[in-house]
């Protein structure tokens, strides 16, 4: 419910949220993530989905799990930065594609965004 | 599991009965209290007379109470909203019905004992001693007349009485279960079932009378005169078997309807 888009699969959205939090250093102090259930309750989503998202992030090298203890953020967050970068680029590509269908080329879109934003 | 069911059933029924037993006891105390002021005046006679009247009425009401409560409990616990919980407990239908029946019978017996104690309390004095003596005399007399048969008669009679109580309770259980099958008015259907059973019982009775009128009873009567003890045993045991059969039938009806055709709203 909170901050999540119901029209898109939830799992990637949770990956994105966690990725941003990791890069922003939300979990720096302990490096340990809250329990799956807590995370799920906080976002109001299915615990199995959160589990899947954590598994994905582990595969991507952002997290590692310790048996019987939980999930930890990897010391080196450069991987997280990369993943986040990829996500951002992907979104921009999608955005460009949408704008293209509305008659703006990527360059024109950049110009347009700058002008519009300064207003 | 049955033990726990029993505990909760006792709790549910006795929480209603304990005040009633207290009333019985309280009335006895009040009765004794009134007797303290015994005198030969009009006022006292009126007061004590009406007290006796109310006492008897209340006594009868108390004896009927466990019966009414047990039947209401059966209906409410199984077929009202509570039924959603009752029927999702890991307990089978036999356990549900039997525990309710046994608790109802125990409660009825306890109430009867309480009623007797109450009467003894209120009348305690020369009269009680006289009544005690009379009972003792009857007991001795019966032992002398019936000899070794006496304890058996007693046991048979007690079993028969409890069984009759059980049959009556099971009859109401069956009526309630039949009433639940109705889509519209379940209470009305239950009352209808009761009168249905009553009509069937009358019909069977009439049939026996008609058949009985055709039979030559003389040889049987002669046998009965020759073997008086056996005759009493036979009729008592016959009664027990008949009651068990009828009770079994009512039990079967309730069990079948609950386990196969449960239909909570």
């Amino acid at each position: 419910m909170r901050n999540l888009d119901k029209n898109r699969p939830v799992c990637p959205q949770i990956c994105e949220l966690l990725c941003v939090d990791i890069v922003n250093g939300v979990y720096d102090a302990e490096r340990r993530l809250p329990a799956v259930r807590e995370l799920a309750a906080g976002w109001g989503v299915n615990p199995n989905t959160v589990q899947k998202a954590l598994d994905t992030l582990e595969e991507q090298g952002l997290l590692h799990s310790v048996r019987g203890s939980g999930w930890y953020v990897r010391e080196d967050i450069s991987r997280a930065r990369e993943v986040l970068q990829e996500l951002r680029i992907e979104k921009i590509r999608e955005f460009f594609a949408v704008m293209e269908s509305l008659g703006l080329s990527p360059e024109e879109t950049c110009e347009f965004v700058k002008e519009w934003y300064h207003e | 599991m049955v033990k726990k069911l029993f505990k909760h059933e006792i709790h549910a029924l006795w929480r209603l009965m304990i005040p009633i037993w207290c009333v019985l006891f309280g009335m006895s105390i009040l009765g004794r209290f009134i007797q303290l002021f015994e005198q030969e005046t009009m006022a006292y006679n009126i007061i004590s007379g009406s007290a006796v009247f109310f006492y008897v009425v209340a006594l009868l009401a108390c004896i009927v109470c466990p019966f009414v409560f047990a039947i209401t409990r059966f209906h409410r616990n199984l077929f009202s909203g509570e039924g959603y919980l009752t029927f999702t407990l890991p307990i089978n239908t036999n356990q549900h019905i039997l525990v309710k029946l046994v608790v109802a019978l125990i409660t009825e017996l306890v109430t009867l004992v309480a009623a007797v104690v109450s009467v003894i309390l209120v009348t305690f004095g020369e009269l009680t001693v006289e009544i005690g003596k009379a009972i003792w005399y009857l007991f001795k007399l019966s032992v002398r007349e019936w000899g070794a048969h006496m304890p058996f008669y007693l046991v048979e009679a007690v079993i028969g009485a409890i069984l009759l109580l059980a049959v009556e309770t099971l009859l109401f259980y069956a009526c309630i279960c039949i009433g639940q099958q109705s889509k519209k008015n379940r209470t009305l259907a239950a009352v209808g079932a009761y009168f249905g059973f009553y009509a069937i019982q009358q019909a069977i009775g009439t049939m026996f009378l008609l058949v009985g009128a055709e039979i030559d009873w003389k040889p049987l009567a002669a046998w009965a005169v020759e073997h008086p003890f056996a005759t009493v045993h036979l009729s008592l045991c016959g009664g027990i078997v008949l009651a068990a059969l009828v009770g079994g039938l009512f039990y079967y009806i309730s069990h079948r309807l609950i386990s196969r055709r449960l239909n909570l709203e």
Partner: protein, 232 residues
């Protein structure tokens, strides 16, 4: 993932109308499943059969291979769609009642949740507000370590705050070996919690699908899909 629930040609007939019509499906353990359909589509009938409160006209339902009976009732925790508590008991007594009959019930967990809501154990059930009564019912059900939780319309007729409470209680007490079956017609509030949905209409099963698949393949929320399927 082991099979938890199996329905075989389940049919329930009321006179001539079929409340459930030849429904067959299986559910695995470890899932939160939404049983979705408009009012009167057969959701409650199905749930009652599952709990042994109704007997099917034909077909059967199996919970871990067994038909509904005392042994399945020991592992299914059921929240009916109406308040069923006997009014004369206190909160404490109903907790003891559950603890007596359900081996998987945790008294400690129940009191912890009651405490968090500020419901006193000494209170009579009939003295509770309607909202608190519903919460007590939910707490009793969720304090069990059941194999299957069956919640019939847990969020119908409750205010949004209570709705959040219900949802977070379900998530917080969920364990990955169990499954939760939630019936509702208010989909948007609960769809994010679900793994899978079953759509039923007029007693027919019309769709059984993972919600992530719905979002990925259709690009729309379960609620939108529901509105499309049940358009009239």
């Amino acid at each position: 993932m082991s099979e938890l629930l199996r329905c075989e040609n389940l049919t329930k007939q009321y006179g001539k109308t079929a409340a459930l019509n030849n429904i067959s499906f299986t559910l695995e353990s470890g899932k939160i499943v939404g049983l979705l359909g408009p009012n009167g589509s057969g959701k409650t009938t199905f749930i009652k059969i599952l709990n042994g409160l109704l007997t099917p006209t034909s077909g059967a339902v199996y919970i871990e291979g067994e038909r509904p009976g005392p042994s399945t009732k020991a592992k299914v925790a059921y929240l009916p769609d109406n308040v069923y508590l006997n009014a004369w008991m206190t909160v404490e007594q109903i907790v003891a009642y559950f603890a007596d009959f359900y081996a998987d019930f945790s008294t400690e967990r129940a009191f912890e949740m009651l405490n968090r809501l500020g419901i006193s154990p000494k209170q009579k059930l009939k003295a509770l507000s309607k909202g608190n009564k519903e919460k007590v019912c939910l707490i009793l059900v969720m304090s069990r370590q059941a194999k299957l939780y069956v919640l019939d319309e847990p969020i119908a007729g409750v205010d949004p705050a209570a709705r959040d409470y219900v949802i977070s209680t379900i998530i917080n007490n969920y364990n990955p070996e169990a499954s939760v079956l939630i019936s509702t017609h208010l989909i948007s509030d609960i769809e994010q919690v679900l793994d899978e949905v079953l759509f039923i209409r007029d007693g027919h099963l019309v769709l059984k699908k993972s919600v992530e698949d719905i979002r990925a393949e259709e690009g729309k929320s379960v609620d939108e899909l529901f509105r499309e399927v049940f358009k009239w």
